[in-house]
Subunit: 158 residues, 12 copies
């Protein structure tokens, strides 16, 4: 089983994690989340790289750069979930399988957070488990990527 | 660490799993999924009970029966996701933390599947990973239930 | 004045009364409500039968059975208020005058609870008085049924 | 048990009662309704005052005047149900518990009558019983007000 | 041919006529309009009374007073066209045939002016001819009222 | 005062007048309406030409032909009121003042009849008076056209 | 049993049948469909006349001509289903019972094809069976027309 | 030509047929309809089984059972047409061609009956012919099923 | 610099200020607010008159009276913000520049408070500062009125 | 009274001020506005820092940096008012009281400018006074911040 | 390179070009536009035929006639852009690649002009360049048609 | 004829051209497109500068810089077409005529791509021709800019 390369991408304001609205996002900060994912990645035989930006354009360009380099992405698009067609186009254009992650349950927040511009083209969605959402997403992504390779359980969502 | 009691509930038509629309749901059947969850449960120190029904009323009553008996639920409400206020009321009335699970990505299917009558009162949501969605949900639910008990990372979604 | 025969019907989850979301529904349980109504019925010269089910189909069939047997119904359709065309069709098909009852004020709850699939074909509506809603509905129904018979005040709502 | 002071308020055009659209409102006129309520009030140990106006501003000011003087209101806002934010603000501002009453079933009339600007802040709602709607509302209001005082059945609708 | 009694009613702000937004309403003032209508009424064998108010309640009450006294009304509800269910109820309750009049073409103004709460229960509608709109409405109303009496051309709009 | 040239245009199905849905349109037929208008035109010092077609394209072309030849139009667009942008474009393109006429009150019929694709660019609107609607429209149109010439009361609707 | 006279009307583009979008409409051409219907008509004791036009106005006028001559119509309005109020008015004005037919299932095509301007005033609707749709519609229409005459099963749809 | 196996399924309240709202559904009862279909089936060389239930779950399970056993279904989903995603999922999951049948014309009834959750995945739709709707649907279904086998006229609706 | 004449107008229920919903409106009463504004007016070289009414018609007429007398208005339309076209028409008809004021932030309250019928024709809008909102509005109005006169910074909002 | 630290933030395109659409924004440029605010700040005992960016991400990060450093913000989000959930999240996450400012009246411009993604979480809103809007906002913000500290008039908007 | 055959089709009212609403359409007339296109066609090696009609049915039939005869169409559907499903069906049925052309920018005109019933099935769209729009469309169409033949740059829009 | 200065601007993800979703965008890369436009520019006597960015703020600032320097712009806003009010404001504020370009036909893609925040203020729109769209836009822009200068055909779209 060859190692998978996974990019974990954090959208705007997630650099505030650990300080911001703990009732929605828990108290872990971003580097401890990234560290936990790296640790988990070892067990799942995958290499984790991470990236955070508050700039839509930088996120778009990091995806461009990832094309051909990574096997899949775990992305928490945060606010851009609801407003960025550019992120969608980057993900579609680079054709990288990705899982959409949210720390909080977006369905129990403001109406405008119920629409995602990415969800219908995602491989899967995980929301509401706080920092654990990332870990679940990473597990799920690896499972799907390996199943695609080896046809284990034939999941195919188009 | 005391064991958690988890009820895994499958909604209408999921008894067809393994035969039905494999492009959406994969090829595993329900008993193999239940068996895998029981196995995973051991590792997570939780006892799994399972239930499937095509009858909204039976699902409602199984939830009633679970009140006070289980620590949480993993529920794939299937078609009732979009049409059953009764399930919502049962879950709210019995006050059982639950994770909403979908095998396929409901956002990439028909418009009417984009609305969930349960999502905003769920603890978390996992969708799109085929049978693996259940496993991720179970992991996430245990994590949240244990964090609530021991305040590990203070996730609190109201 | 001949006695009226009234069927009081309770929809899904109402068997939980006394335990469930007391901020919405009060603390009386269903049998004490039924007992109070039977008592009130004596004073109003009517015979009360009662029925609760969590199954849409059973509620439909109880209405069928009531056709030709009862003079009117007091119905708390609970969750099915908002989702059951089948209940509406049963009530229309059997042509039984009914009052729609809600324990809580459905207009101060979730948006989807503001639409009733029964209200426009009901004789009257009572909501928000907790268990007392049933008693008011029973009084109102008897008043209307007797007025229709004897033309007392000519209320006629089509 | 101390007596309750209740203001019964009738909105625009209700002075026409007994002459207007009998298919919707019955044939009783306003003074006979008021007289019946006074009579009923005696049995319920409450003092009834009544007020009718066709002027939104007068209704608003009568509510202001009632603040601190009455224990609750029975209000048939008639046409202003659907158009008056000022009545809503007066009721909220004076913090008087009230029951919203309609003679006819507003859900079986024109589309624009289905929206009430008061309903979500009312204690309860009674509609469709003709003049009897007022009596039911009065009973229900007294029941709720007394329950609040003595915690009889803990109804609490926020 | 007996004379018809017609009430011409002017809604809010129409006392400003001749001074206000001449691009919408022309330069005639209200008394000259009333005088012209009285003159026209003579030729049509009808007696004209007129009323203007800026108070919704006064307009409602003037309609109540007209019930049984007039054969029909010409009404320019102005701003209340779009916001007053009370006027609608008064007109329906008193069962007076009326023509809805507008000086300007309400369809070429703000979106919210396109909805009339009276139009669907009016006998007819005339809009856009400035002060002449009233004269046309008066002619049309007389024609319809006389046709109803003598069945001349069987117009019947329900 | 020079004579005005007015084209009266009747849209689809109006050739059926006198036979069709008398509850909406009265019992006069089209030629008697045209004759009455010719007669009325004499009194108003205008020459009336008339045209009926069931073909959208023919109505469009008759308007083209009228450009520069007539001073104004009275048009009953019938069904094309709600569906023809081509008629609107013809009227706008040829810049002919016109009054929109309806025999029945379109606001008391089906929802889709409430939208007119012409009304906002019409000089005025008359609806609901049966065949008399045409006569009122003709009077109103002449009044506006002459006022524009001589600035009598400055009505100007843009 | 006297023979019924039935007009079968085909709307715009149906002259292309047999060449156009076979995945929606099958491969039969219009004359073979008409011939089959004539044949079927013999067995059902009815005389079939047929008409196709791409012109809304011609379809309207063919309906006018049919008034009083035919007992009912089978109409495939094709594109005009969704855009022609004029056809609706012609059918209503002439008061001819008709069945609406579609070769393909309009509900599985573009959103704008889901709205029919005729369906609510049709006797019945048949869609999705290709050329066979016409045959079913003809059978159904004859059945309803004969039932109306002889009250066989009292179907009455208003 | 081998015989086709067809399941005719009747949804909620259809057991009331013959007693309920005859203006919508005619006066035949369900067993006479079933008997007529069995008779018609003989002529069409198909074997008919029938099933009625008021329970959504039972209808779902009868469809499961039919998978692999029948060649097609004629289904009158009644109230569940508008509310059951579970029925849709069962039909899609079991991949059985079906025709959707309605006794009355659903487009001329309440707004909420205009949306079908099944129509876009049906083979065809027949509505408005009373009990005859079933017969037409059966004919149409057999025609389509046989055409698919033998490619007679290539109808193919996806 | 000549003094400006400013009318400060308070809409319905604002006479309750100091007693009503302090979480929205603060604890100052209306006369202390008026007194503060008079004081502030001195510093800004303007004369302040004030008016409060709960009657839409009185507010309309006070605006009529102000036409030609005042240079501008500060208006807190309260509930009539959302329901009164008559106020809008009075302000437009009298052509008085005005600032719309709200004590609370209307955007964080009920959905129906988000629509203002005045805002698009106001000079400016101030909301959310409690009683201080009036003072800010007065300052802003004076600034704009003086800028218009002397072209200081060319603000021009149409 | 200790000095307040206020950050004034200008969104995209506001560097163009003084050159761009003077009918909406007046003719002052950004540095003169900033200078005026600094001057005004002195009188209000507050220190003003200013920031302008056309980059959503830079605005987000400037807010992050301000957390814990400033007492409040005056923000003119310009175009990002209507499109940036990221700005909203930054402001919520950093929990800085802010006033939303607009130079022009956004309600009299394009429809899409009527929705603000920030307004409901702002302390207050000022719009329509050109450059003066900033000064009013600054005054209002200081007033609210000081009132919160010293409970002067208890304004509290949640 | 063989010559391409192109049909240029002009919809309703375009025969007015040069006289009608020059602010939207410029001052060239239709024959000069056609002449320019013929000239341009020579340079592009294509033969141009042209057609204008105000009749939807004639446009439909000209498309039918073009099937198999032309390689592509440049069509300015004018008013029928927004109302004609029949044109769409003709274009789809005949399977002719076409470019949709508008002289003016339809997005800056009335709301109802923003929806095109053809655009999603067009090869390309050109709008806003006056008569030059046709020339650009012709160039673009030729480019696409030749690219399809020779695979030059693989553009493929489905 | 003096040369025109044209800025060609490419929005987010267009640097991927030649690699991304060739079914939508063709296979040319951005530099070959730019080179072709430079070549075409020579023939049209205009100087072409080009700019691509994935950052909304950079695009905004490049427009600021272009103000006063270029005669017009060809802009493919890509994803920002649907989400950027800032781009619209920059273009409006700098008052540069521009043509909106899309490689693919945005009307045949996802619903959210049908709304453009720029289209109504563009000079013209070209979509669907792949890389050729730019060339057509450049030709059209030059034509309009020169016509404006010399009044050749008076196109004027506001």
């Amino acid at each position: 089983m060859t190692a998978l390369k996974i990019l974990v991408m954090h959208g705007p304001n997630l650099n505030l994690l650990g300080t911001r609205e703990p009732q929605h996002y828990g108290m872990q900060n971003l580097s401890s989340i990234n560290a936990s994912l790296a640790e988990l990645g070892k067990g799942l035989n995958c290499t984790i790289s991470t990236f955070q930006s508050n700039h839509e354009g930088e996120l778009v360009e990091r995806i461009h750069q990832a094309a051909g380099e990574v096997d899949g992405m775990v992305i928490n698009p945060a606010a851009y979930t609801h407003t960025s067609v550019a992120l969608r186009d980057a993900l579609l254009g680079c054709n990288i399988p990705f899982v959409e992650v949210h720390l909080s349950n977006i369905h129990s927040r403001e109406e405008f957070r119920h629409r995602s511009l990415l969800a219908d083209v995602a491989t899967g969605i995980v929301a509401g488990f706080g920092a654990e959402s990332y870990a679940l997403a990473l597990r799920g992504l690896c499972d799907v990527l390996r199943a695609k390779g080896g046809d284990k359980n034939g999941v195919d969502k188009n």
